[in-house]
Symmetry: C2
Subunit: 372 residues, 2 copies
Amino acid sequence: MIGVAVLGSTGSVGTNTLRVLARHRDRFRVVALTAYDSADLLKRQAREAGAAFVGLVQGTGVAGTGMGEGCLVEAATHADVKIVVNAIVGAAGLPATLAALRAGKRVALANKETLVMAGDLVLEAARRGGGEIVPIDSEHSAVLQCVTGARAGTLRRLILTASGGPFRDWPAERLAGATVKEALNHPTWRMGPKITLDSATLVNKALEVIEGHFLFGLGYEAIDVVVHPQSIVHGLAEFTDGSVLAQVGFPTMELPILYALTHPERLPDDGTRRFDPVAAGPLTFEPLRRDAFPAFGLGVNAGCNGGTAPAVFNAANEVAVEACLAGRLAFGRIPDVIARVLEAHDVQPAGDLAVVLAADRWARERAEAACS
Amino acid sequence: MIGVAVLGSTGSVGTNTLRVLARHRDRFRVVALTAYDSADLLKRQAREAGAAFVGLVQGTGVAGTGMGEGCLVEAATHADVKIVVNAIVGAAGLPATLAALRAGKRVALANKETLVMAGDLVLEAARRGGGEIVPIDSEHSAVLQCVTGARAGTLRRLILTASGGPFRDWPAERLAGATVKEALNHPTWRMGPKITLDSATLVNKALEVIEGHFLFGLGYEAIDVVVHPQSIVHGLAEFTDGSVLAQVGFPTMELPILYALTHPERLPDDGTRRFDPVAAGPLTFEPLRRDAFPAFGLGVNAGCNGGTAPAVFNAANEVAVEACLAGRLAFGRIPDVIARVLEAHDVQPAGDLAVVLAADRWARERAEAACS
């Protein structure tokens, strides 16, 4: 029995994870669950899964609970846990990722922001502690599945697909007036509000490019993005001989979650809709409109600049998204906020966590100011 | 340096193979070449590649040549050869495949007919002799690339793609009057005349289903075919967890040939067009019209029946195709000829080669009679 901690269990990836785990109780045991402030749902989940440890970051009302931010690290380093599913949204997931990796756990990572903020530090923690990172993001799971079994050094290029979000074909001038409500209406994926907004600005895709750089060790020139509105081809891997493998399927998070738990093995599972290319309909691909979605280029540039730049990009975006969801910032202004913070930032090498966290704090303050 | 024999070097797969080998002279050495009767081209190829052994099945005029059918086995078992590229068309390739496998060689197999005729015997020869079969067919190469590195027993289903051939969308009544010239005009692949006709009747796809059964050890109920007119997705593998991998790319035989030479490794190669999903255009998938292409179902049924049935299906088809190319049989009558021969056949277990060859001879005689 493999012990699993699910951080962020009440969110979209968290509930999908519990559904997958419920189908495989013979193999996995839910040891720890944490949530931000959804106490009622967390209590119900803990009862159903029989979790030994329950953590609530904000609020009260869950008996026998770890409280506050510290409960995340507590859950992530629990002695009975082998796999930590990190489904926390945003930078808040970083300490738990680092702690789990240092403790030699596998981190099934949906919290791409932590890898973006501090990729080198996260990889180093894994190396030192004997932990490993397995992506849950469907695009990176796709690539991982394509390269599993391939010889080291034979991966030449990644192609990450992007649905293009709800504004894929909107003219730039119309985009300027897009509302949050329109942005939250994703065409192919049902996800939490933060990642859905990130998909509408294509910030999410920039974060994934940076994530791909760290996960697969490729330079940014070897990571392409192509818009694929149907979200059927999740990611492609080009090898040194020119051959390209892809992972395909109807959109579901359950499959990449299951794979992150079992990689490099696979478990028999009938819980997801069987793929049928005919029912999938025509698959189309188009270039990403960088002009219409300037936040994408800002993110990729931040990745290329390295050091603290990706952390600053991420922090500025988190603040802008929060302001946007709270009605304090127009959707169309998110890229401006990010751009202004990045312009003002003096990039530092991200050699230790204090530098990264300082850059993150600095960027949040700047972004808050830029939002008002 | 890995010694390579190319059987059928003057045909379509053969010339593609020599092009690939010419790019990798540091790794591969052409030891032996054979052709059916194209003496001039064979001589030129042998000179350019510096082949030590040259074999011509039919005709004269090549100095220092092995002559007659025996030259195929001679080339396939040459002491300096490690990989035999079997690009012979039809049943004539069987003895060389068996001999090479018994001698412990890798057979890079474009000659799917031999696996269809005598799949169990071919697999047994490989087991006993320590040889191995690696497919060159783009569909099977795709699947092999998808499953390389996967744990045994995790492949659940194959999906082979079919371009649908030149008559993909022809109504059945129009198909009855299709000419050989029209059948030879394949929409996406440039190939030799036999396989091109087989693609027009979809016999080729039935042969590939049978080939897939033997190569990947799946039952026929686990092998699906889907029509994909663009020939970009070459084959798909569904795993036990429901995940599906695919190999994709612009149509070229050079890539599967290179992979058959290097599997499970890959060699850096820039000789093929880099894949670009946008340039590939929309990818569409549709069900195979079994009613319009009855030869497909005949072949799959023969595969399910097993024993000598696939050999009889193959032999009847070879005779019908030859008659068709010679102008002795209307294109539309190929399925009738195959059906009549299969109906008259009393299926035997294919436990030894003599039984298979007898069934093959019997079917050829029957088919000749049915063609006239």
